[in-house]
């Protein structure tokens, strides 16, 4: 433990000193350009989000004035209850939460169990199982939609929660991620526990999962964000209002209200976006670091 703290501190000092070198080398012009880049990119990336936010507080008369206003003149909250009533958003929320939670829990559980078996259990030819997982990684979900829809039809699960959840319940990506992480864990800890008489399930629960928490959190966060935003499959598999998830629901709100009531549509869009934005603000570090470290390790 001590060593790793020291190591991190060492990296931090080195980074700081190299940064100082970097500033000296490029000089203040490069530094100023850096700040200009921050300001410009935040404005450009933030503008659409800002526009959604202020439009959701504008009266419809203000929305249809030319030129448009950049700050609401008479901010109002009326658009939110109006959007909530224009489409069954309560139902959309319930459906989205159910589908997201069940899928995420299923993905995390199955990934951990499969990865544990692949790394810590002896089985003749278990590498073939890993190769099958890798092969599954290469099949994009988009090209499975027609056959999966037909399968759901045969099973009588079209327009049901099972139909929404099942195709996304397993995970090749999560399994791969967890396997790679388990491979880095020190074997000695597991051997010591085995000598103490701990069985595999106890070792999985008390050693592997706590040690692999960072990878597990990343897997879970990716799953939550992806499921919450999933569009193609719910669009196909649901056919009545009471089974729609939020992204499908808000797209239908646009079709209904369209260009006639932008304020209401933007309030509805806020309903979809807010939970993920809050989650992102809270867990920003895990998500961004997870993406970055995944890329660096290749």
């Amino acid at each position: 433990m001590d060593q790793s703290v020291e190591f991190q501190r060492d990296i931090a000092t080195r980074q700081r000193s190299s940064w100082r070198a970097c500033t000296l080398r490029h000089g203040w012009i490069w530094h100023m350009m850096g700040y200009a880049a921050i300001v410009l990119s935040v404005i450009v990336i933030g503008l659409p989000i800002y526009w959604m936010l202020i439009a959701s507080f504008k009266t419809s008369r203000e929305i249809y004035t030319v030129p448009p206003t950049w700050i609401p003149l008479n901010p109002t909250l009326d658009n939110y209850p109006a959007a909530w009533q224009a489409a069954p958003f309560a139902r959309y929320y319930i459906n989205s939460i159910i589908v997201t939670l069940v899928t995420t829990i299923s993905k995390m559980t199955l990934a951990v169990l499969t990865a544990y078996a692949l790394v810590f259990l002896r089985f003749p030819g278990k590498n073939i199982v890993f190769l099958i997982v890798l092969a599954a990684l290469m099949v994009p979900a988009q090209i499975t939609i027609v056959p999966n829809f037909l399968t759901m039809g045969d099973l009588g699960l079209v327009n049901t929660y099972w139909g929404l959840i099942l195709p996304g319940a397993a995970t090749a990506f999560g399994t791969f991620l967890m396997r790679q992480y388990f491979m880095t864990l020190p074997r000695e800890v597991f051997e010591a526990a085995e000598i103490d008489g701990a069985g595999h399930m106890l070792r999985l629960w008390t050693i592997a999962i706590p040690l692999a928490m960072p990878a597990l959190v990343t897997t879970g966060l990716f799953a939550v964000v992806n499921e919450w935003n999933e569009f193609l499959w719910p669009l196909i598999i649901t056919s009545t209002e009471d089974m729609r998830t939020l992204p499908i629901g808000v797209a239908r709100l646009l079709d209904q209200e369209g260009l006639a009531r932008w304020g209401v549509v933007m309030a509805g869009t806020m309903f979809v976006v807010m939970p993920v934005v809050l989650l992102f603000v809270w867990s920003q570090r895990y998500i961004v670091e997870g993406i970055a470290s995944g890329a660096v390790k290749g």
Binding site: R16, R20, C22, H31, G34, Y35, A37, I38, V42, I45, G46, L47, P48, I49, W51, M52, Y64, T65, P67, P68, L110, A111, T114, A117, R122, F123, P124, K126, V129, I132, V133, M138, V139, P140, Q142, T144, I145, V146, P147, T151, A170, N229, F231, L232, P247, A251, L254, L259, W262, M266, T269, V272, V273, V276, V277, F280, Q284, V288, A295, V296
Partner: protein
């Protein structure tokens, strides 16, 4: 005894995951291959075997040619713009700046937003009368009269003063540009995050060595930064291309593949064949073509990783 217990446990642990993957990932691939050689409208009890006729129909059709060209244009332009802009931004942000991490978070935010929501926001952004982009264009256009008089002879002033917002989403010549702008906006933060992580992995002593050898900023960028970043740029390139091939939600909500197929791309075309026109055979063919294209890309990626390991 213990050995058999371990084997049994292994099977127990992997079975749920493997069964679901078999049913909803591998079986569909076989099913697609089957669909691609039959003629069927999903409802009729009659499924006729037609051999490779579906492949002939789809691959020689005008619409499929348009779809492929659209996908290629969309992928090449949006990936190129994202990667170049992202690299520039990452280089500028890779120094001790206040609010740097905050800026990185703001840049990354569009990546986690729902595609449907993004599409709706941008339909409003692009609105040629009430949208903010139209107003920005008008504002630039109104600056025309501030230009020195000598420009008016060339017609520049008149031209600038007459510029108005294009009908982004209803004009077939502009819809693709609009879509590319949205995807660059969505993916830029992802590219910056990946580049910044890559820049951290470059050995600092290489820069010192280069400086001792008298290399200027440009030479350092060309001979240290770029080679150091090349593995991560390749990773970014392949993942971005794959993501472009899979684009659907924003297209479905923003343009529905239109106007007149101007933004009809692979996944949208698959959806159209399968769920709007109810043609099982052609839908199967499109799925097979997509799978082969993506497989080639993935294998390319694996081979490059292999080579990189050999070099280092």
């Amino acid at each position: 005894m213990r050995e058999w217990y371990e084997r049994l446990l292994f099977i127990l642990l992997i079975t749920p995951n493997m069964l679901l993957l078999a049913a909803f990932t591998f079986w569909p691939m076989i099913y697609n291959a089957y669909l691609s050689v039959i003629s069927w409208n999903f409802l009729s009890p009659i499924r006729r075997f037609v051999g490779l006729r579906n492949y002939e129909t789809v691959l020689t059709s005008d619409i499929f040619r348009i779809v492929l060209i659209n996908t290629a244009v969309f992928t090449i332009v949006s990936v190129a713009v994202t990667m170049v802009l992202g690299l520039g931004l990452a280089l500028l942000l890779n120094q001790p700046l206040r609010l740097r991490n905050g800026a990185r978070a703001v840049l990354f935010t569009p990546t986690v937003l729902s595609g449907a929501a993004i599409a709706i926001i941008w339909i409003y952004m692009f609105d040629p009368r009430f949208g903010p982009l139209a107003q920005i264009i008008n504002w630039f256009s109104s600056l025309a009269h501030l230009l020195p008089a000598r420009f008016s002879e060339s017609g520049l002033v008149e031209w600038l003063a007459s510029v108005r917002s294009p009908q982004w989403l209803s004009d077939p010549n502009w819809a693709m540009s609009a879509l590319i702008i949205v995807y660059v906006w969505k993916n830029l933060g992802y590219a910056v995050v990946i580049y910044l992580a890559g820049l951290q992995t470059i050995d600092r002593t290489l820069y010192e060595a280069a400086r001792i050898d008298g290399a200027g900023a440009w030479a350092q960028f060309w001979h240290v930064t770029l080679p150091g970043l090349s593995p991560i740029m390749f990773f970014l390139l392949v993942t971005s291309i794959l993501a472009c091939f899979q684009a659907f939600d924003i297209i479905r909500v923003m343009t529905d593949g239109g106007p007149v197929n101007a933004t009809n791309m692979l996944v949208y075309h698959l959806y159209e064949r399968g769920f709007i026109q109810s043609q099982a055979g052609p839908a199967g063919v499109v799925a097979m073509v997509m799978f082969v294209l993506m497989l080639i890309l993935t294998i390319l990626q694996l081979r490059f990783i292999e080579r990189r390991v050999h070099y280092s």
